[in-house]
């Protein structure tokens, strides 16, 4: 069943925002003189995810200016990429948005394939599997965001429920790729290997169990007075701002900006699935929460359709200059040994050129702008981080709010250090 929130976001008229604490205090706040006080939050602060620092100026409880500082997790994705072969970059993409690694894998692989001119030749099964793992990653991403956000507001139970469900998915992906979190499962031209035999039945089972978990969380949060009071009408962003600041993904859609790459520029095989793009009506924290909750439902719809339509066939491109030869050949014939050697050591040679390829990541449009000089490694490999605009706009959203509002607002932006600082 779909969460009640979804019905709200889908119905025509805007949701009536019950302005809670803030309005009340505005009304009967005694007009005391107070001088501005600087206040520092983070970088090591329970609500700052360890990698963000906010230098606030407050008057009483109210924030007058907020200077958000990132960069505490700058791991030089670009510099490392410029010194690695095209394939060696996959592990680095895993660690960009480490809550949805598969989505980064897919996005990067597609960018390189465009540059190689093989993006039309990727086997259909590989594309379906990429959709499957991508949507699973999207679900883990949103679950983590909602769970952590709720926990930071003191609601510990949904956090435990959601992480329990996330654990099921991690174990599934681990069985598939060998790693719980940093999978590096995608390769240029396809995938490292095919799905495990019982992947589909297990995923079906997990989806069924997850429905229950989502119902629980929905009941625990969506109508929870305390939760609503801290989410409703807090951190409102207008559609125009969303566009001018480059907000995409759940944050952008919460403002009513109906932009989802999967719908507007279908890639892989997304045009073959029937799913909705939830859109908010107010652009406040609750909308961001509701959109994410609903997107989990939609992702599950996609997963089910993808599992039904999953075709047989090869899982990677059959091109000796891109795909590795079979291991048995590699060890037993000089030809395959050389091919393996050249692909691993010199890297796949990508023709010189530039491309900007974009997919729908966990936080929005995940773009890869890649410049190749024709050698085995990129001249430049830039990732367009979807959550940088979301964090950047905080400096505009926070002033006027209370200090306590930072926690839900920042939480719902779902800032991921690895992706924001790269």
């Amino acid at each position: 069943m779909a969460a009640p929130s979804s019905t709200e976001t889908e119905t025509a008229g805007p949701r009536r925002v019950v302005l809670g604490v803030q309005e009340a205090l505005d009304l009967d706040a005694p007009d005391l003189p107070s001088e501005p006080m600087p206040l520092n939050m983070g970088p090591s602060h329970p609500a700052m995810h360890g990698t963000v620092r906010m230098v606030l100026e407050v008057e009483g409880e109210k924030i007058t200016t907020a200077d958000v500082q990132i960069g505490y997790l700058h791991r030089c994705f670009e510099k490392e990429s410029e010194h690695a072969t095209w394939t060696q970059i996959f592990p680095y993409t895993d660690r960009l948005n480490y809550v949805s690694p598969m989505l980064n894998n897919v996005g990067y692989a597609m960018a390189v394939e465009k540059l190689l001119g093989i993006d039309r030749r990727i086997p259909e099964r590989a594309q379906f599997i990429r959709v499957l793992i991508g949507e699973i990653s999207r679900i883990t991403d949103h679950m983590t965001c909602l769970g952590a956000g709720a926990m930071e507001l003191g609601a510990f139970t949904p956090f435990l429920y959601l992480l329990k469900a996330r654990e099921w998915l991690y174990e599934l992906l681990e069985e598939l790729s060998g790693a719980r979190l940093t999978h590096s499962y995608v390769r240029i031209g396809g995938l490292t290997h095919d799905l495990t035999d019982d992947f589909v039945p297990r995923l079906r089972d997990i989806i069924n169990r997850m429905r229950g978990v989502l119902v629980d969380c929905d009941k625990l949060l969506t109508r929870n007075r305390i939760f609503r009071d801290r989410m409703d009408g807090i951190g409102i962003i207008s559609k125009e701002d969303a566009m001018a600041w480059g907000l995409t993904g759940p944050v952008g859609r919460s403002t009513g900006l109906a932009y989802d790459v999967r719908k507007d520029h279908p890639y892989l095989v997304y045009d073959r699935f029937d799913f909705d793009v939830p859109v908010g009506s107010v652009g406040d924290n609750f909308d961001r929460y509701a959109v994410r909750l609903e997107e989990i439902q939609q992702s599950m719809r996609i997963l089910e359709q993808a599992m039904d339509k999953l075709p047989a066939g090869p899982f990677t491109l059959d091109d000796p200059r891109i795909a590795l030869p079979p291991k048995s050949e590699t060890y037993n014939s000089i030809e395959a040994m050389i091919a393996h050697f050249k692909i691993i050591m010199d890297g796949i040679h990508v023709p010189a050129g530039e491309v900007y390829s974009f997919t729908e990541g966990g936080n929005g449009e995940l773009g890869f702008y890649i410049v190749s000089d024709g050698t085995g490694r990129p001249w430049k490999c830039r990732v367009r981080p979807p959550c940088v605009p979301a964090v950047a706009i905080l400096g505009k959203v926070l002033p006027g709010l209370f200090i306590a509002d930072i926690v839900p607002t920042f939480g719902m932006m779902n800032m991921i250090g690895g992706e924001c600082d790269r």
């Binding site: 010194h83 072969t85 000796p320 200059r321 030869p325 050949e329 060890y331 037993n332 014939s333 000089i334 030809e335 395959a336 040994m337 050389i338 091919a339 050697f341 050249k342 050591m345 010199d346 890297g347 050698t375 085995g376 490694r377």
Partner: protein
């Protein structure tokens, strides 16, 4: 021959044998018209077809052909279609003729290429993981570029000797050899000592040393360079580093006055080998084994920290001490002070030294020192073992004294203060350096002079600095930094400008390039020298410049 006497500069840097047989120099000026892959090209008459094709941008692969050697046409990899000939012809062996029509990419040609590669790989061992050539191997490259198909047979490969000690620097693996004869031709045509040959026939044919000979000629390691596979490997380099991890920096050999152009292959602050870089006017494609080993000195007995009065000091105090000692000696009498320039220093260091000594300190006595002269031949090696003698003479001016004079003056005690720029090697061991009241040495190695110096200022060596040196032909060639200098050592020009500041002299030199510009404006021999463009050290795996 002492450094005092200028070495005889051969009119042409090469004896005819080293002159590339088919390089443009050897070609007549009249041109012929050939059609290559449908496009018409004008090429010099007598040029061989392979070069014509590659010049025209149609990439024709080859194993046995080498631009610096004659063409035997044994590998059959460069076969192309020539209109009128019944079967494909080896382009490396076919001179272009007028109205020739050539196809380098017809299905037939491509198929022949593939089949030749398959044939070459038939007996090739599965050695890549343990082969030193892997990563810069021509066989790997050509297979991947032109074949890339999986094996069609799993027959037993012919076994041959894996480790044959053919010379003092080279090891041979006969299984890997693809019988291209490049090494044999290098010995015959470049080193002019026929050390290698083939024996047996068919797939039992092997490379081996000629009867009664070993591969011990001074150019033996060039065979390792030209070997398209890992058959011949250098004892010095093998198993020490995987080539694709190395970073390459263009440089110049400092082993002698010839100044062969080289590539420095380094990794993590260590130089692992030197290989020749093509320059038809200096060394063509070759260099001598001695020169290849000059990198070893970079990591041995280096002076890493400033020393004042025998104890380690920081730069500032060491410079102060040096300035004080020199100043007092100069006050005692400028004529008792002298400066010793090493012919191994870069033009920039020498220019800075000259400015300081002549213009600011008014020192008259100039000694030119350096490595003692050694053996030479008429191929590449010159007797003068200093890379920059020509530059040093030009910069130090007319009234130069030799190292012998330096020894004499020290003995006689007429030398009160000495500023030694660069390593001084050629002093007799019995020279009483203690007699010099103020001895300030800029040295990169702990030589006797450096040990005895009152103040030691550590100097960066040739692989760590930006600069230029002048070879025996008077060519000004560029050195580039490949590795970071060890310890606190600095480039000479920088040390000297700091020292000048201590004397209150205005010598504001902020970069090697600025010094170069200044020297260029001042000295005639540098007037048409060019600093060259910036270069990033690039990893060999991404340079795709070898193999």
């Amino acid at each position: 021959m002492s450094v005092g006497v200028p070495p005889p500069v051969p009119s042409s840097p090469f004896s005819p044998a080293v002159q590339p047989p088919s390089s443009a120099a050897a070609l007549s000026t009249e041109t012929v018209t050939v059609t290559i892959d449908g496009r018409v090209h004008q090429v010099p008459k007598g040029m061989n077809l392979l070069e014509a094709c590659n010049q025209a941008g149609c990439n024709v692969p080859y194993f046995c052909y080498h631009p610096g050697l004659t063409s035997p046409a044994v590998c059959r990899q460069c076969l192309v279609d020539v209109k009128g000939s019944p079967k494909p012809v080896p382009s490396c062996y076919t001179p272009v003729t007028d109205k020739m029509e050539v196809t380098t990419n017809s299905p037939k040609v491509l198929d022949v290429r593939r089949q030749m590669l398959e044939f070459t790989l038939l007996n090739h061992p599965i050695d890549c993981p343990i082969c030193d050539k892997a990563g810069e191997c021509t066989l790997q490259k050509l297979y991947f570029d032109w074949d890339a198909k999986l094996a069609r047979n799993d027959g037993i490969k012919v076994r041959k000797d894996k480790v044959v000690d053919v010379g003092k620097n080279v090891v041979l693996d006969q299984e890997r050899c693809i019988l291209c004869t490049r090494c044999i031709r290098v010995c015959n045509e470049v080193a002019r000592s026929p050390d290698l040959t083939f024996v047996n026939r068919g797939d039992h044919e092997i490379l081996t040393t000629a009867p009664g000979r070993r591969l011990d000629n001074p150019y033996a390691l060039n065979t390792v360079d030209v070997c398209p596979v890992g058959a011949l490997t250098s004892k010095d380099f093998r198993f020490s580093m995987r080539v694709w991890e190395l970073y390459t920096t263009p440089s110049v050999c400092t082993g002698c006055a010839t100044g062969c152009n080289t590539e420095i292959h380094s990794s993590r602050g260590r130089v692992h080998r030197l290989v020749p870089r093509q320059n038809l006017d200096v060394n063509a494609f070759w260099m001598c084994d001695e020169g290849r080993f000059t990198y070893k000195e970079l990591h041995q007995g280096r002076a890493v920290a400033p020393r004042a009065a025998g104890s380690p000091a920081d730069w500032d105090s060491a410079l102060d001490d040096a300035a004080r000692r020199l100043r007092s000696a100069l006050d005692a009498g400028p004529q008792r002070a002298g400066i010793a320039l090493s012919a191994a220093c870069t033009n920039e260091d020498l220019h800075a030294a000259a400015c300081l000594a002549f213009d600011h300190l008014g020192i008259e006595r100039v000694y030119l020192t350096g490595r003692p002269a050694g053996w030479h031949d008429d191929i590449l090696v010159s007797a003068d073992k200093n890379p920059n003698t020509a530059g040093a003479r030009a910069i130090a001016g007319p009234k130069l004294k030799s190292a012998a004079d330096l020894a004499a003056d020290i003995k006689s005690g007429t030398l009160g203060a000495l500023l030694a720029v660069g390593d001084v090697f050629d002093l007799p061991a019995d020279v009483p350096l203690g007699r010099v009241d103020a001895l300030v040495a800029l040295a990169s190695h702990m030589t006797a002079m450096a040990e005895a110096a009152h103040v030691l200022l550590p100097l960066s060596a040739w692989a760590e600095v930006d600069g230029t040196i002048t070879n025996r032909q008077g060519r000004v060639q560029r050195l580039r930094p490949a590795i970071p200098p060890p310890g606190d050592s600095l480039p000479g020009w920088e040390i000297l400008s700091h020292l000048a500041r201590k004397f209150g002299a205005a010598m504001e030199l902020d970069s090697a390039r600025a010094v170069f510009a200044e020297a260029k404006a001042k000295h005639a021999f540098m007037k048409d020298a060019d600093w060259g463009r910036a270069h990033l050290p690039v990893q060999l795996r991404f340079a795709s410049s070898r193999g």
